[in-house]
Amino acid sequence: MSNGLIFTLLSTLSLFSALMVIFSRSAMYSVLYLVVCFFSIAGHYVMLNAHFLAIVHVIVYAGAIMVLFLYVIMLLNLNKENEPHKPAFFKLASVVTGGALMLVVVSGFKTANQLMPVGDTGIGTVQSVGKILFTDYVFPFEITSVLFISAMVGAVVLAKKELN
């Protein structure tokens, strides 16, 4: 089956780029690998028939959040590679901790209910998600605008230069 091959390719890409995000020396390279990771996850959404989520993911993450990250790195002049690193023992300890967490979660997932593929039920299309967003979830959807206004005001207040 070709879908297994595509899943393997996308997963390899996303895992490799995620590893490069946390292991690359410069923050600039981390952001660029994060873009690759986000695009591969958008590919996973397409495989799950979640077309609306794939498009929103690309627009929000690769479009908006990445631009924010890149501008902050540019403003703070962080594209140097002389960032101080934690001692090697600390790095090893954190990798071991992350690996242990992965083992715990994977062993917990082993007994999870095995769901059968149901095929394309049409629930991930723009039409169906949009319909339910504006009927059942219309109140949370409108409340998110308040959240965005408060986040915007908060960002401006926090990043504003203080006048002496």
């Binding site: 995000v21 799950l48 990250f69 339910i132």
Partner: protein, 107 residues
């Protein structure tokens, strides 16, 4: 034809992929001192959880999971905006984004 690539993979593949991605994010938060890379690791964790939610929603045929993923993305965007503004403010004060130098509240 079930999706544009032909079919769907076994469900537990998504479980394991999300677990590994989440563990990579946790490792990044623990390992790096650069606050911006820690933010990126938090985004990785959010993405792995989003992927698992979307997989459950798609494999059970219930649409609420997709709506929830949408709201998680909205909250993540707001969080990044505020967090990066905080980082800029921190950089103005201590001229660095090194987390280990932020110990004014340490007793």
């Amino acid at each position: 034809m079930e999706n544009i690539f032909g079919g769907q993979v076994p469900f537990d593949w998504y479980l394991y992929l999300s677990a590994v991605l989440f563990a990579i994010g946790v490792t990044g938060v623990l390992m790096r001192r650069n606050a911006i890379v820690m933010f990126m690791s938090i985004e990785l964790m959010l993405n792995s959880v989003n992927l698992l939610l979307a997989a459950y929603s798609s494999y059970t045929g219930k649409i609420s999971g997709m709506v929830f993923v949408f709201f998680v993305m909205v909250v993540a965007a707001a969080e990044v905006a505020v967090g990066l503004a905080l980082l800029v403010s921190i950089y103005r004060n201590i001229k660095s984004v090194d987390i280990d130098k932020l110990k004014n509240l340490k007793w």
